[in-house]
């Protein structure tokens, strides 16, 4: 691998390891006059923020860097970690660079978290999007209106309301960024020995912490270098990972899983930042294009209840397309959407005779031996049984 791409990956790792407050502060310093809009998972129409002259930044929990000392008196023990650690970031003054925060209807704890943010951090305006759950004919007009409402709030925040032209520019830019991420994932599924799941992860995650322009430049440089890497395939099974679309597993966990004998050829990490299967239509009415892409061109997800086709069918299709040998369901502890989905996935995977393993994680976990052993046992049972 060239030195430059290794440097990029190292820089991404450092970004991810740095205290969130520092990263957010640096982003703001590098873009004087820009407002920073925190985006809670899963999906954010980042184009709308960008087109209004603000910078989206992913607020995706505290990872395994912060200790939850205050937020656990606000949210109970049976609530997932990302809700508590994101609140903890605010309660410990690590979100001071934010000018607004955006949530959407993904689950009940995140929904209540939006209110708790509003009460505890009066300096950070909270916007809450309701994305449609009825994908029928009425959703399109509704979603355009909802995006228009968000644009109005963003325009007030920045003082530079989005125009059709700025929206189209932002759509083109995010299309480019998502296209590059899709190319990364293509590389991983075609030659997983060239790009580990953890390296791929940090390259994508960096996009939630830097400007989209910088991210595009970084990925444009990295992709050909990664592709040109000489690497010999190892004797590993090909695995699709599912269930980590909101709270994010620690990097070390991904490394241990792959070392245990898997190539993770696809996953749903940071799903909202790579939400569309193809480009958002770059011409015509931009809000209609965004809404149309949400309704007709987005990925399946535990937080989008699209009843036109069973969720499990999408998972099975993915397994077949990627010629995967098995599925790993990696659900965040107490994540109801992921835990519910598992029951449906398990049924469908059993019926299709696709081997699968269920594991739970927490963003702040730091002992990985038992996970490694479980994955190793699973892999061995497939290779040698």
């Amino acid at each position: 691998m060239t030195e430059a791409v290794q440097e990029s990956i190292e820089r991404c790792r450092e970004l991810l390891a740095a205290p969130f407050g520092d990263v957010a502060g640096a982003l703001k310093r590098d873009h004087p006059g820009s407002k920073l809009v925190g985006c809670f998972p899963v999906y954010t129409p980042a184009e709308l923020i960008h087109a209004s002259g603000a910078l989206p930044i992913g607020v995706i929990g505290g990872g395994n860097q912060i200790e939850i000392a205050h937020a656990d008196s606000r949210f109970q023990s049976f609530v997932c970690s990302i809700v508590k650690s994101s609140l903890e970031l605010g309660l410990t003054q690590r979100l001071e660079a934010l000018d607004a925060m955006l949530f959407h209807s993904i689950c009940d704890p995140a929904r209540n978290l939006a209110s708790v943010f509003k009460r505890n951090f009066p300096g950070i305006p909270v916007e809450y999007l309701h994305l449609p759950q009825n994908m029928g004919p009425r959703a399109d007009g509704y979603l355009v209106a909802e995006y228009r409402r968000l644009l109005l709030a963003l325009g007030e925040l920045t003082g530079t309301p989005a125009t059709d032209a700025s929206l189209k520019r932002s759509i083109a830019l995010y299309n480019r960024a998502r296209g590059l991420v899709r190319a990364l994932y293509r590389l991983r599924s075609e030659a997983p020995e060239k790009l580990s799941a953890a390296d791929c992860y940090v390259l994508v995650r960096a996009g939630t912490l830097i400007s989209v322009e910088e991210h595009v430049a970084m990925l444009e440089a990295a992709l050909p270098a990664l592709d040109a890497r000489p690497a010999r395939p190892k004797d590993r099974i090909r695995v699709v990972l599912e269930g980590s679309f909101c709270e994010q597993p620690p990097l070390e966990l991904l490394e241990r899983i792959e070392e245990a004998g898997c190539y993770l050829v696809d996953d749903d990490f940071l799903l909202g930042w790579r939400w569309f299967r193809s480009d958002v239509r770059p011409h015509g009415d931009p809000l209609r294009a965004m809404a149309g892409a949400y309704l007709h061109g987005s990925v399946y997800s535990g937080v989008k209840h699209d009843l036109r086709e069973p969720k499990a069918k999408h998972l099975l299709d993915k397994v077949r397309e990627l010629r995967a040998d098995a599925v790993l369901i990696l659900a965040a502890k107490f994540c109801e959407p992921a835990l519910f989905d598992y029951a449906l996935y398990r049924r469908a995977l059993d019926a299709a005779a696709i081997p699968h393993l269920f594991l739970e994680f927490e963003e702040k976990m730091w002992i990985f031996d038992h996970v490694r052993t479980e994955v190793e046992t699973f892999v061995e049972s497939m290779l040698f049984a």
């Binding site: 209540n112 759950q133 009825n134 499990a312 519910f340 269920f358």
Partner: protein, 424 residues
């Protein structure tokens, strides 16, 4: 069963009869009476529309809670866990799905299969998953009636929200017409909506009675008696008659100064759903201290009539939409709930707030620690938080809850004694 002999006797008997008939109808449908049924959810629902098509409304939540009350839920929960549902998933869903996949027979009746799976998504995200799963297990058509959450500072839905919901209701009408083979009878819908409006009016008057001292009934534990018909039978003549009887009976008690306990010593507001498997045990913990709930948030999951909402027969679709969007607890945001509780504390003259935090229902519970912080630190209201579950009997730790309840009321008594001494 009650502290005062004859307490709420007629109302209770009537309720038992009505709910018995309702479950007999369900059983008959399950056994082939020919009546078609629609599965739907309690929170702010469009039951008026469903009834206009003579579809029998079936509420998996009500079935699940009945199973819990009758201590029959655990085996079904475990069946669902064997299917892959997590120990951390909502136990209402697990009890229902366990029952659904294993014959649908309960001690109170047999649950029919649905001809329509109507997910009225009013706030609760688990609803979406619950009915998505039922739709996987059953071939009946499924409809997600998507209700935008209350998310603006005004606390009111936007014009676009209302239009979106009304249009979906029209789509639902078309679907019901296909399922039943009948055109919507607008006059019939109007009458049903009118009945709901009148029932809501009585329910609202009943809730105002607990502002009196002593409160004529317990607004948490006794509201349950009224909530079952309000949800399962709203929009029918018999439901309206039941509420007329209940109001007359409770008004008479209020006039006579009779309450549910021999002496009302503490007036509390209770937030959160009840622990159905241990309802009696939980109630006794409060009765022992002379504590009566004068208001409860749980009794507003189906609708917020006490703050002014009425179904309007002149605008049936719009008022159904308004009920679903704005006039129920679950589609409102968490801070609106703080405000609702604050009003209860003030306008119902309560001494304290009790938060019952349930693991299953994170819509209710997630963040209740912040709620406690707000009421104790910002408003100076004595607040007790106890944890258990609505459905899963494995989460009820009787001794622990009793200790906390006792300690809380001891401290309230102590404060009261000190205050009395200083004013003497």
């Amino acid at each position: 069963m009650n502290e005062n002999p004859g307490y709420q006797e007629q109302m209770h008997l009537l309720q038992k009869e009505m709910m018995g008939r309702y479950y007999a109808e369900l059983t008959a449908a399950a056994e082939g009476s020919g009546q078609k049924s629609a599965y739907m959810l309690v929170s702010g629902n469009p039951v008026e529309l469903v009834r206009a098509f003579d579809l029998l409304p079936v509420f998996p939540e009500v079935n699940a809670l009945q199973l819990a009350v009758k201590k029959q839920a655990l085996p079904f929960i475990q069946k669902a866990e064997e299917m892959g549902y997590s120990i951390d998933n909502c136990a209402y869903v697990k009890a229902d799905i366990g029952c659904f996949m294993n014959g649908r027979k309960t001690p109170f009746g047999t649950i029919p299969l649905p001809q329509l799976i109507l997910c009225n998504y009013v706030g609760c995200n688990v609803y979406l998953q619950w009915f998505e799963h039922l739709a996987e297990y059953d071939p009946a058509p499924v409809f997600n009636l998507d209700i935008p959450f209350v998310r603006t500072d005004s606390g009111e839905p936007s014009a676009e929200d209302v239009t979106y919901v009304v249009r979906q209701l029209e789509d639902l009408v078309a679907l019901c017409e296909r399922i039943t083979g009948k055109k919507l009878d607008r006059e019939k819908l109007r009458r049903i909506v009118e009945l709901s409006g009148q029932t809501g009016e009585l329910w609202s008057k009943i809730k105002a009675l607990t502002q009196r001292s002593p409160s004529p009934f317990d607004a948490y534990f006794d509201s349950v008696t009224l909530m079952a018909p309000l949800y399962c039978l709203r929009g029918t003549e018999e439901c309206l008659r039941f509420f007329e009887t209940a109001y007359a009976e409770l008004l008479a008690k209020a006039e006579a100064g009779v309450g549910p306990l021999p002496e009302e010593r503490f007036r509390v507001v209770i937030e959160g759903p009840p622990p159905w498997p241990y309802l009696r045990t939980f109630r006794d913990m409060f009765s022992k201290w002379g504590a009566v709930a004068v208001a409860s948030t749980y009794s507003t999951v189906g609708g917020l009539w006490e703050f002014g909402f009425r179904h309007d027969p002149d605008r049936p679709m719009e008022s159904i939409a308004s009920h679903m969007l704005q006039w129920n607890l679950t589609n409102r945001n968490f801070l609106q709930r703080y405000e609702q509780i604050r009003r209860y504390l003030e306008e119902w003259s309560a001494d304290a707030l009790v938060i019952h935090s349930v693991k299953s229902c994170r819509l209710f519970s997630a963040g209740q620690g912040d709620m406690r912080e707000y009421f104790t630190k910002e408003l100076g209201i004595p607040t007790l938080l106890v944890e258990s579950d609505i459905e899963d009997p494995r989460y009820f730790s009787e001794a622990q809850i009793r200790n906390r309840v006792d300690a809380f009321f001891e401290s309230l008594e102590h404060k009261r004694a000190v205050a009395a001494q200083t004013t003497r």
